[in-house]
Symmetry: C2
Subunit: 283 residues, 2 copies
């Protein structure tokens, strides 16, 4: 497998880190996961804008990203994924610093790592929906930064897996935030509702695309706080993510969501969303 590591494409065996990399010592880094629909990386500019913002918030010097699309495409090519639905994982840590001290030096030399992987769509989940759980949000208060300090996400995600759930949806004091790796949407009387952007949720790229679709197609949408007590009042619920796109929620915390099958608004949004990348999917 070939990866990108600190300026060049190389065999994964050549990508080696010091234990003094702050990504290892402190979870001091940021990341993105980007979808490759043959033959193009999808919403790349949005992902890069969010990556730059995460770097800025953590004061990690941004590496040169001007040729990132060529690098990503080259990684796809050398790994023989040109015609396969894939993902790119990008991580930038603050890099090596010795000795270990909490306070970071200003003149950091970040570590930049990218790998690509064939990642088929979860067609069954997207078509037939998933079960999700509800749990208290245990994370820090800057969830708008896509950092690699991900222990809370890991613990909640493991809980989901153990309970045969596709996702855990978090709430803070009863107010819904998001899932461990997804945003959440609700539908009531044909209005599409999602929690507003603030420091408690990540500005999802798929979330943004859906709100744009609503504007373009004239579907009603509304960003507002949602209380866990409202769950049973919604006509439809779905979660969104780069890999899951729009995934209907059939059950939340043990209660049936929707009518037991994906709702009309969810399906319409799925179709509109698929049009966004249909153009560049190879025939």
């Amino acid at each position: 497998m070939h990866v990108f590591f600190n300026g060049k494409i190389t065999e994964i065996e050549n990508a080696v880190l010091s234990p003094f990399d702050r990504g290892f010592l402190f979870g001091d880094g940021v990341y993105e996961v980007i979808r490759y629909y043959p033959k193009k990386f999808f919403l790349l500019e949005d992902h890069l804008a969010r990556l730059r913002n995460s770097l800025k918030e953590l004061e990690i010097p941004a590496p040169d990203l001007s040729s990132i699309e060529q690098i990503l495409n080259e990684l796809i090519r050398v790994n023989n994924l040109t015609d396969k639905l894939s993902i790119a994982y990008l991580q930038i840590s603050r890099g090596y610093q010795f000795p270990r001290r909490h306070a970071f030096i200003e003149e950091a030399s970040p570590t930049f790592f990218i790998y690509v992987e064939n990642f088929p769509a979860k067609i069954d989940e997207m078509k037939n929906g998933v079960k999700v759980g509800l749990d208290e949000d245990i994370r820090w208060t800057r969830c708008d930064i896509k950092s690699t300090s991900l222990i809370p996400n890991i613990l909640s995600n493991k809980k989901a897996v153990r309970n045969n759930l596709a996702e855990i949806i978090w709430h803070r004091n009863g107010i819904i935030t998001e899932g461990t790796h997804s945003n959440i949407f609700f539908v009531k009387d044909n209005t599409i509702i999602t929690p507003p952007l603030n420091n408690f949720i990540l500005a999802g790229i798929t979330r943004k695309a859906i709100l744009a679709i609503c504007k373009q197609t004239g579907m009603e949408s509304c960003e507002r706080p949602v209380n866990i007590d409202e769950m049973k009042t919604f006509d439809e619920i779905f979660i969104t993510s780069t890999l899951g796109e729009i995934t209907p929620v059939m059950e939340i915390n043990g209660s049936i969501a929707n009518t037991g099958k994906p709702g009309a608004v969810t399906i319409k949004l799925q179709n509109e969303f698929q049009k966004l990348y249909a153009d560049f999917v190879a025939p």
Copy 2:
């Protein structure tokens, strides 16, 4: 420099990690910092007990720790630190997992890394005290686990450094928790007060030693929630940590603490604490 890496003592150059180590991808690991007072590691059993607890909470398989004291002493010896005040840093990450997925595999092979470093006492701070700030606690709600997902600590610590403060003391909704790398104590009418152990603070090893000293010497102590509004009512304030031991606080959030110099109770505790390791400091 020689370090311990995955079962053996080796040159630091031989300690190399894959980017697929979950310590790098997810901040998925735990750590300890242990004081070496020539010629012995101090309160080693307490540190190892906390390390085991952190591993258990994150379900990271515990490595064999039965010969850890020999390994630590050997590291001190080969790095020529036998007669120097030093520290050992121990980190255990969940190890390599490919491909990258949030959910961890059960049969992990943890990465175990230890390095030692000459680390002189901050004598001036311990003698003359420090200034600290107050800030909202931005961390997750399982601060009892000493995990390497440390981005919140890094951001607050950097804020301290930029404001010429030795530490930031956090509070949640006005209730004091702890510092970015210390616990906090207050003295009122000769009673020594510190916030109680719960999921919002780390069970400090120095904190534990101080409460034991209080019991043994008959000094009054009390674990209770402390409100930020109480700051001006205390006679003395000090912070505790493995490296800072007992450090008097002279100013908190811009207000004078104590009488402008370290208080009598703080100094008495410092003396009692130093007795704990005086025995094995080489003459």
